[in-house]
Symmetry: C2
Subunit: 239 residues, 2 copies
DNA sequence: CGAACCCTTGAAATAAGTCAACCTACGTGG
DNA sequence: CCACGTAGGTTGACTTATTTCAAGGGTTCG
């Protein structure tokens, strides 16, 4: 499943064989993280970065009242904390929202990669920049979209991201999130998420039931969300 | 004023003379950008990155109704779009919120730097990662803090950032933002920003008048905002 | 079978938005 | 030097989106 990562990188810019090999060889063997486990804690010093192979991961911060804000979701093929390579201690927590397979790459090996493979380094850097672009789109959602558009936008984003890793079937996809977790992504309360999902259902745009997102009218959904996938940098058009 | 950038980088990790020289030499000579000018447009292909020497810059996205969300503010010593080096076309606009001096570094020269100076490259990468950390904190604000805490937090963040570049006097600082622009940062309406500022004033926490932020009670303000500067990575404690 | 968790819905409360008026400061041009 | 226009700040009254509180219903799993 490291192939997913390679495919993503190479969609941007092809790798030389030696770059590809160096990257693949740098990973430790995969391990399992149980659902619900907060496997990286804010402030904790890290010496490796984690690639998600399967499952779903969330990064979150919280306030003293206990309210959580999920700042990013990660799907298979995503680095969950490539930025910990330069930050060392993270400003947020990382939780497995479903059972996850992950593979770690020690920072010492990443450092070797940066020394020997500047082109590969730029592509890893690119990945963290795409991450930041998603944060910006979420800021726009949280700051300016209403509840319906916010949730619609999230469903569109996930569809676009999951599609390129082959995890979209019949226009729908598995999303192992509770409504409470959806609320933590969108800055809403669980109750309001529930009512908003009802609206989206009644408007025949999407249904979300039993961890399955069934998109009824993708175009309509995009329109409501004002979704434009450019910020995901999935196409190599502008390298 | 490139010294500010160097100081920031070296607060994290000292540079060798040749790294410092290579970086400094890569910049073109400074130019002026007029206040209010949107000097980088979403989607536009870029071939250089911009360092802010003086003034104030905002990065924003907007929705069709014309509502803007500012996703980041930049102060002197910040790269405004170092991420354009790998993204090439940006997902957001960049506006000068005050008259600004900027210095550009062409991407071709950045590419040379990455080839010859892996350690410097990691530090530039670090800068973009700090940028992303600020986005995450803003997501937390937009998603979970109420209006008072949101504005208080922004004032705390700017104080912390401006302090290390020597732009805080007597506990206060210049902030050339209108209330409308503040609203664009915080996801609020201008009217509500106005009322919220009044509250902060009445609670003797901060005053914001005539582009001057006068912090009356920094501790109280931090408390209201739940501000913890760790996410700014200003101290080298965890390298 | 029961417990835990999650989803659903209603009614009431509240934070923030909207609309509109008025005020102030500032700069420009007559 | 005043007159005017513009942009930004302030306030009030009213509306609305979202939250809160609370209760009830459905699933799943040990």
């Amino acid at each position: 499943m490291i192939e997913t990562l390679l495919a993503r990188i190479e969609a941007r810019d092809p790798l030389a064989d030696r770059e590809r090999d160096a990257l693949v060889d740098a990973f430790d063997s995969p391990t399992l993280v149980g659902s619900g486990r907060v496997f990286i804690r804010q402030g904790q010093r890290l010496d490796r970065s984690t690639l998600l192979l399967s499952g779903l991961v969330g990064r979150f911060k919280d306030l003293s009242r206990g309210e959580r804000q999920i700042s990013a979701l990660h799907i298979p093929g995503d680095f969950v904390d490539l930025h910990s390579f330069s930050l060392k201690a993270l400003d947020h927590n990382v939780v497995a929202l479903a059972p996850c397979m992950v593979a770690a790459i020690p920072h010492t090996r990443l450092e070797n990669l940066t020394r020997e493979h500047p082109h590969l380094t730029r592509l890893l850097w690119f990945l963290t920049n795409v991450d930041a672009a998603m944060h910006r789109e979420w800021e726009l959602s949280l700051g300016r979209r209403d509840a319906v558009a916010r949730i619609a936008h999230l469903f569109c984003e996930l569809r676009a991201r999951l599609e390129i890793v082959g995890l979209v079937d019949e226009g729908g996809y598995t999303l192992p999130l509770s409504q409470a977790a959806l609320a933590e992504c969108t800055g809403l309360t669980p109750v309001h998420v529930n009512r908003t999902l009802k609206q989206l259902r009644e408007r025949d745009l999407v249904e979300f039931r039993q961890k399955w997102v069934c998109i009824k009218d993708f175009q309509g959904l995009q329109q409501v969300a004002e979704f434009d996938p450019a910020y995901l940098y999935l196409r190599p058009e502008c390298q």
